[in-house]
Point group: C2
Chain length 221, copies 2
C-alpha cells in the first residue's frame, strides 16, 4: 500500500471481514487464500496485494479481537472494585471474545508465537499492540481499591499481562464444553493474583518482589 489514500481501502476491509468470517465458520485450515479471495470476488493475487501472507490475516484477527476485548471490558470496570474482581472481568471478557474462534485457537497461538513476523505478541514489531493490551491491565490497576503497593504498581500491568498469556494458553488447550474449565481457572486465579499483590507489602516478601521486578525490567533490554 504505497499510497495512504484510496477507496480500495474498501477492498481491503472486505477481504478482512471475509477472512474473519470464514475463519469463524470453517476454521483455519479449510479457509484457503483462494476461498477468501473467491468469497470476496477478487483474485488470489489481489488478496496478496493487500496482505503479505495468510498469517498476516490472522494478525488482523488478533488486532480485531483485541479491540473488541478492550471495548467490551472497559465499560464493565467499576471504579473502586478490588483488583481481583477487576481482573476477573477483564480475563473473562477476553475469553468470551475469543470464544467463537476456539476451534482453531491452536493454529492461532501457533502463528501468533512465531517471532518472525508482525504477528507475534512478543516481537518488537507488535510492540504497539502489546502496549495497548497491557494498558487495559493498567486501567484495571488504576481503578482498583485499595491501590496496589507503589513499589510494583508500575510493573504490575505487564506482569498481569504475562499471567493472562498463560491463561490464554490454558484456554487453547481447554476442550471442556464452552471452555468452562478456563472460566473456573479465572475465577480462582483472579483473587489469588490479587492476594499475591497484597502479600508483596510484607517486608520479607518485598525484597524478593523487588528482585523479580528487576528481573523483568532486565528482560526488556
Amino acid at each position: 500500500m504505497p499510497s495512504p489514500t484510496a477507496k480500495s481501502e474498501a477492498t481491503r476491509e472486505l477481504l478482512v471481514s471475509t477472512a474473519l468470517r470464514l475463519f469463524r465458520e470453517t476454521g483455519y485450515e479449510k479457509t484457503t487464500m483462494r476461498a477468501i479471495a473467491a468469497a470476496a470476488d477478487v483474485s488470489t493475487g489481489s488478496a496478496y496485494y493487500y496482505f503479505a501472507s495468510k498469517d498476516d490475516l490472522v494478525h488482523e484477527l488478533y488486532r480485531s479481537l483485541q479491540e473488541e476485548h478492550r471495548s467490551l471490558a472497559l465499560p464493565r470496570l467499576r471504579e473502586g472494585q478490588n483488583l481481583g474482581e477487576l481482573l476477573r472481568i477483564v480475563l473473562n471478557t477476553g475469553i468470551g471474545v475469543m470464544g467463537p474462534y476456539h476451534d482453531f485457537g491452536s493454529n492461532f497461538i501457533s502463528i501468533a508465537i512465531k517471532p518472525s513476523a508482525t504477528t507475534s505478541p512478543f516481537g518488537s514489531e507488535s510492540a504497539v499492540a502489546r502496549a495497548r493490551a497491557i494498558s487495559l491491565f493498567r486501567q484495571a490497576v488504576a481503578m482498583s481499591r485499595p491501590q496496589p503497593p507503589l513499589a510494583i504498581r508500575d510493573d504490575l500491568p505487564e506482569l498481569l499481562w504475562y499471567a493472562s498469556m498463560g491463561i490464554t494458553l490454558f484456554w487453547v488447550y481447554d476442550s471442556s464444553p464452552d471452555q468452562v474449565r478456563t472460566r473456573r481457572l479465572i475465577d480462582q486465579a483472579a483473587p489469588l493474583l490479587s492476594k499475591l499483590v497484597i502479600l508483596s507489602r510484607l517486608p520479607v516478601v518485598r525484597k524478593i518482589v523487588e528482585d523479580i521486578v528487576q528481573l523483568i525490567r532486565g528482560t526488556r533490554q
Copy 2:
C-alpha cells in the same frame, strides 16, 4: 509401522539423523521433506511411510534434545547443593543443548505448541515425554539441601517445569549473541526461584501457596 521388528529400523534412524542434521545445518524451512528423503537416498513416499508428517520429525528432534539434556544434566548435579544452584545447572544445560537449533527455535516452538498432534508438550499424547522432563526437576529437588518444604515438595517439580517453559520461550526470542541474555536470566532467576521456595514456609505465604498448588492440581482435571 505395524510390526515392531525389522532391520528397516535402520532406514528410520537414517531418516531421523538426516533430518536432524539438515535442520541444524540449513534451518527448518529450507529442509524440505524431499531434501530429507533425497539425502537419505529414499523417495519422499518412503519418508512418509515412517513419519506421518514433517512435524513428526520435529517431534523426534524434541525427544532427542530431551534425552541429551537429561544425560548431560544428571551427572552435573551434586547431592547437597542448594536448589538455586541445581536449577541453574539444569536450565543452562538445557539451553546449551538447544543452542545449535536456535535459528529455527521459533518454528520449533510454533510446532511444539500445537495441541493437535503428539508434538505438543502440553497435549495428553506426549504426557510421557513431559513426565520425563519433569522428573529431571524432581531429581534436582530431591538432591537439594536444604530440602524444600514438604507442603510443596511434590508439586514443585511441575511448577519448575512451567518456569523452564517460560525461560525457553524467552530463549526463543533472544537474539543476543550466543543467547547470552537468556544465560543471564537463568543466573538471576534460579536463585530467585530458590528463595521463593524458602519463602513459602512463612505462615502467611503458606496459605496462598497452598491455594496456588490447589489451582495447579485443579488444572490437571
